[in-house]
């Protein structure tokens, strides 16, 4: 085991207030003092996200959030803000997710006096100028129309999966919005949305690093200046009923195949089974890690693609980051498998291989050896999840979102110590299955793939190099593994239409 202080250095000063491993909590504050850190990190969480987009105005939360970080305030134009931040080597930014909007920033403490008024203005006195609005909205439109549809098939595939699972709900559209939604938004919509959701009762302020009490007081005062009130929380979305398997093919000329599949799960961070399920999922598909079993089967042994992973929590921007993001808390989660881009002619085989491995896990659970190896891996690997003050602060805010006592990561490491194989396998049986799957595939070969899937025809595979007999024998089983997807449960959507409205 790693030899760390009983409490991480970063939270030593919190011992009295919160006990080891946790941040200090007040009703409206999450404090993470790290006196030896010469910088100060901020994470201001507003309980609002794209789930709150009014129907027909998809993208309103995103545009509103972006305008806080990329727009003028009552005291400064956006240009002036950039000018003032520049010599400070400081910044602030916003992340909008389905249920969270977070304004984050970091500055050297020597520069706090100059920085803090800018940060406070950003959420307290946004000017919502027409020119800023047009700029932010057109950037979002370009993202949905061009970048998401054309520049990364993997991100498109993942977004398509969430669309299919949550069709008709506030989780279905990308956080950035839809084309029609963004086009329908007016600046008055933004102002109303801000007034409704960016209230003092909807805000939790997170501060970490080498700050002093004056910073906390200043932020508390700023918060008090926001209007009171809290809109009624939207219920967590209900996913579409899923019986059997269904497929959404995003037809995109010239594209190789990018596959995501999964199903809703009813376990979230903080639930009793979550940590056991985490261990199981890490074994099956640890993100961007060669320890992933799916990676071993599809990439390492067969060289079909660049990587293959699975998730029990949303992991946006998975192609660009190795460690999980913070501030993307969601009350409804998916179990999700991500098969990275591969040739269209191998898509059927790869999908079968991944479903078959999932089925094996569900039917047989982990072995003692797999369990112990994964436990050993995770006990240290999670240290990399939050190795900076800003990341720890992000986790502390997420702890508030999920209502977790103490620290999620510290709780996990403690729980790992006494977790048993039986608990892990019981959690697998309770929460994972393989018969009811939602499958999204971006492909340049949609019609042929649809027919191949519907016919359940064998999908043999060949290699440029000789393979061991055990691989070839397994290939035969994979190639004929029944997926049982009727043709009427396979729909094809042209890429030009997806996320249009």
């Amino acid at each position: 085991m790693i030899r760390r202080p009983a409490c991480p250095l970063v939270v030593l000063s919190l011992l009295v207030a919160a006990g080891c491993g946790g941040s200090e909590r007040m009703d409206d504050m999450v404090l993470l003092p790290v006196p030896e850190d010469p910088t100060v990190s901020f994470d201001l969480w507003f309980a609002v996200g794209s789930l709150d987009d009014p129907p027909g105005k998809e993208g309103l939360a995103y545009v509103t959030g972006q305008l806080l970080a990329q727009g003028a305030t009552a005291n400064n134009s956006y240009e002036e803000i950039l000018e003032k931040l520049y010599p400070l080597a400081a910044s602030y930014d916003v992340r909008v997710d389905k249920e969270m909007t977070t304004l984050t920033g970091r500055v050297h403490r020597d520069k706090l006096d100059e920085y803090l008024p800018l940060l406070v203005d950003a959420f307290l006195r946004p000017a919502f100028r027409e020119d800023d609005f047009e700029r932010v909205r057109s950037d979002a439109l370009n993202y949905v129309r061009n970048t998401l549809r054309y520049a990364s098939d993997e991100e498109l595939g993942k977004a398509a999966l969430w669309l299919d699972v949550f069709e008709g709900t506030g989780y279905a559209h990308p956080v950035q919005g839809t084309v029609a939604g963004l086009e329908a938004i007016s600046l008055d919509d933004v102002k109303r949305f801000y007034a409704e959701h960016f209230t003092r009762d909807n805000l939790v302020i997170g501060v970490g690093g080498g700050y002093d009490d004056a910073v906390v007081e200043r932020l508390r005062e700023a918060r008090a200046s926001l209007p009171a009130g809290r809109p009624a929380a939207r219920p967590a979305p209900e996913p579409r009923p899923l019986e059997g398997r269904r497929v959404l093919l995003v037809s995109k000329p010239g594209a190789d195949a990018s596959i995501s599949f999964g199903f809703p799960i009813d376990v979230r961070r903080g639930d009793p089974d979550f940590y056991a399920l985490w261990v199981a999922n890490s074994w099956l598909g640890e993100h961007r890690n060669s320890s992933s079993h799916l990676y071993q089967v599809i990439r390492e042994a067969r060289g079909l693609n660049y990587g293959d992973y699975s998730y029990i929590e949303a992991f946006p921007e998975g192609g660009q980051r190795t460690m999980p993001p913070t501030n993307v808390g969601r009350r409804q989660q998916l179990f999700e498998v991500w098969i990275r881009t591969l040739p269209n002619e191998q898509a059927h085989f790869a999908l079968r291989a991944a479903v078959r491995e999932l089925a094996h896990l569900v039917d047989h659970g982990l072995t003692e050896e797999q369990f112990e190896l994964t436990r050993s891996f995770l006990s240290k690997y999670v240290l990399h999840f939050a190795d900076t003050t800003a990341a720890r602060l992000g986790y502390a805010i997420d702890d508030r979102f999920y209502g977790i006592e103490g620290s999620h990561l510290e709780n996990f490491r403690r729980r790992l110590a006494d977790l048993t194989l039986e608990e892990v396998n019981a959690a697998i049986r309770r929460h994972l299955q393989y018969r009811n799957l939602d499958i999204a595939i971006v492909t340049g070969d949609a019609e042929r793939l649809a027919e191949a899937l519907a016919s359940d025809a064998p999908s043999p595979i060949s290699y440029a190099a000789p393979k061991p007999p055990e691989i070839l024998a397994e290939d035969e089983e994979i190639a004929t593994y029944p997926l049982k997807i009727p043709r009427d449960r396979i729909r094809i959507v042209p890429v030009t239409e997806i996320f249009e409205r």
Partner: protein, 466 residues
């Protein structure tokens, strides 16, 4: 893309570029994963770099750069091979350095791939690798008690890598998959085209990923891969950069034990020098998807030398003329809103590289007007001196940003890896910041004067945007 000078701010790190610039960086910077980071430190002896550094060179030429720093038991272990796609000088072998990076995970006789993987997994390491034009980096984030095991494993695979032809061919499929996942990006398309157009002879003319024909042919190059290993994976071409909770004396002792028998014998590649460019090159880049138009202007530049005021001045010019507080940014991004973003990047390269100016244009009708505004901005910097205040603000900002990025062992190593690979040591960091302080307004003007049309490539990707 070649990396950035130490401490260069991440373009679009603030809102200016938004998601699109992150995509540029993600696609182009490295193949694999790059660290990012932020935080700080003091100023112990008037130096910029805030932590003590111990440098040792073993008899076989292996250089150790050891940086003890507070880190709660974490250690960053980086093996930096001073070979990247720059070294792919033989026709038909583009992309091979990157491909070979993958092969380094295929095991040795002592530790076959599955055992290596199991050992690394058991210790919960954050392990990965990436390849760029001038280097290949293998990095592990580990707990300090695992240091000796990691050292034994890494020393073993760097000396005794062993794989059969079947494993070699299988990995070629994974590399082709990596190409597939990237190729849909319009930035990848234009980046590939700019490189190929800008260079006639030098190996910087191909991307780190390589030409697709060469990627497809990789399964046939098993024998070549052994030669590649013999040539470049030698102690006199590798730097071990180890930061975090370490005891330098102990690390040196372990390095001698595990790496001491590694035989030197690095064979420098025969890289053809790039002839002087004498006329402007212009290309239209096709793209099969839809995209707003992208402009990419690449000026020839000198190789990176930290004591070269011209080079450092060009680095400052890029921010002053095209950064988020530049007049051009205000005009094109904020006021007229003709472009989504504009940024400039001075590549840190071992051989003469490029200065890239990149913009995504919102209105396809405005492409020529944006090109004109970029030209007139350069012309203005060629005539006028930048204000003292703006220059001072930028110098301060660069220094601060560099320090704020040094908050974890992995961030420290990631920040230093390129400069170590390009210059062969860590001394360049202090030299760069010393030179930075010496750069004058006139130096910046002189840097602008070197941006002449005959030394550039102008590429435009006019995607069929909706």
């Amino acid at each position: 893309m070649a990396g950035r000078a130490p401490g260069r701010p991440t373009p679009g790190g603030r809102a200016a570029g938004g998601p699109m610039i992150k995509i540029v960086l993600a696609v182009l910077c490295v193949l694999g994963v790059a660290g990012a980071g932020v935080a700080l430190a003091g100023d112990p002896a008037g130096k910029v770099f805030p932590y003590p550094v111990r440098v040792e060179t073993l008899d076989n030429g292996l250089q150790l750069i050891l940086i003890p720093m507070p880190s709660e038991g974490l250690v960053a272990y980086w093996s930096i091979v001073r070979t990247g796609s720059r070294d792919e000088y033989e026709p038909g072998h583009t992309g091979f350095a990157h491909f070979f990076e993958h092969m380094m995970f295929r095991g040795t006789e002592r530790h076959p791939a599955d055992e290596y993987n199991r050992l690394i997994t058991r210790m919960g390491a954050d392990a990965n690798a990436y390849t760029t034009d001038d280097l290949t980096a293998y990095h592990l984030g580990i707990a300090k008690e695992d240091l000796e095991t990691v050292m034994e494993l890494e020393a073993d695979r760097f000396q005794h890598l062993s794989y059969d032809e079947s494993a070699f061919k299988t990995e070629a499929g994974a590399v082709y998959g990596e190409y597939r996942k990237s190729k849909m990006s319009p930035f990848f398309s234009i980046y590939e085209a700019v490189r190929e157009t800008a260079f006639d002879r030098h190996t910087y003319g191909h991307t780190t990923m390589g030409f697709v024909e060469d990627i497809k042919a990789m399964p046939t190059m098993y024998d070549y891969s052994r030669r590649f290993f013999e040539r470049y994976y030698r102690p006199d071409n590798v730097v071990l950069l180890i930061a975090g909770d370490i005891e330098p004396d102990r690390v040196v002792e372990l390095a001698r034990r595990y790496y001491g028998d590694w035989k030197p014998g690095y064979v420098p590649p025969e890289i053809p020098p790039e002839p002087e460019q004498t006329r402007e090159r212009r290309i239209d880049v096709p793209y099969q998807g839809r995209s707003l138009p992208i402009i990419w202007i690449a000026y020839k530049n000198d190789r990176f030398r930290p004591d070269d005021r011209n080079w450092v001045a060009s680095d400052l010019l890029a921010s002053l003329a095209f950064g988020e507080t530049s007049d051009l940014h205000k005009e094109l991004v904020l006021d007229k809103q003709w472009v989504e973003f504009i940024e400039a990047e001075v590549n840190v390269n071992r051989d003469p590289g490029l200065i890239d100016i990149i913009s995504r244009v919102k209105d396809p009708e405005k492409v020529d007007a944006v090109l004109e505004r970029i030209d007139s901005t350069i012309a203005r910097f060629q005539k006028e001196l930048v204000s003292e205040k703006r220059l001072a603000d930028l110098k301060s900002r660069l220094r601060y940003r560099f320090l704020m990025g040094l908050d974890t062992p992995d961030h420290v190593a990631a920040s230093l890896a390129r400069i170590v690979a390009v210059t062969g040591g860590i001394e360049a960091v202090e030299t760069y910041y010393t030179t930075l302080e010496q750069v004058t307004r006139e130096d910046v003007r002189q840097a602008a004067l070197r941006l002449t049309p005959q030394r550039r490539t102008v590429a435009v990707l006019r995607g069929k945007s909706e």
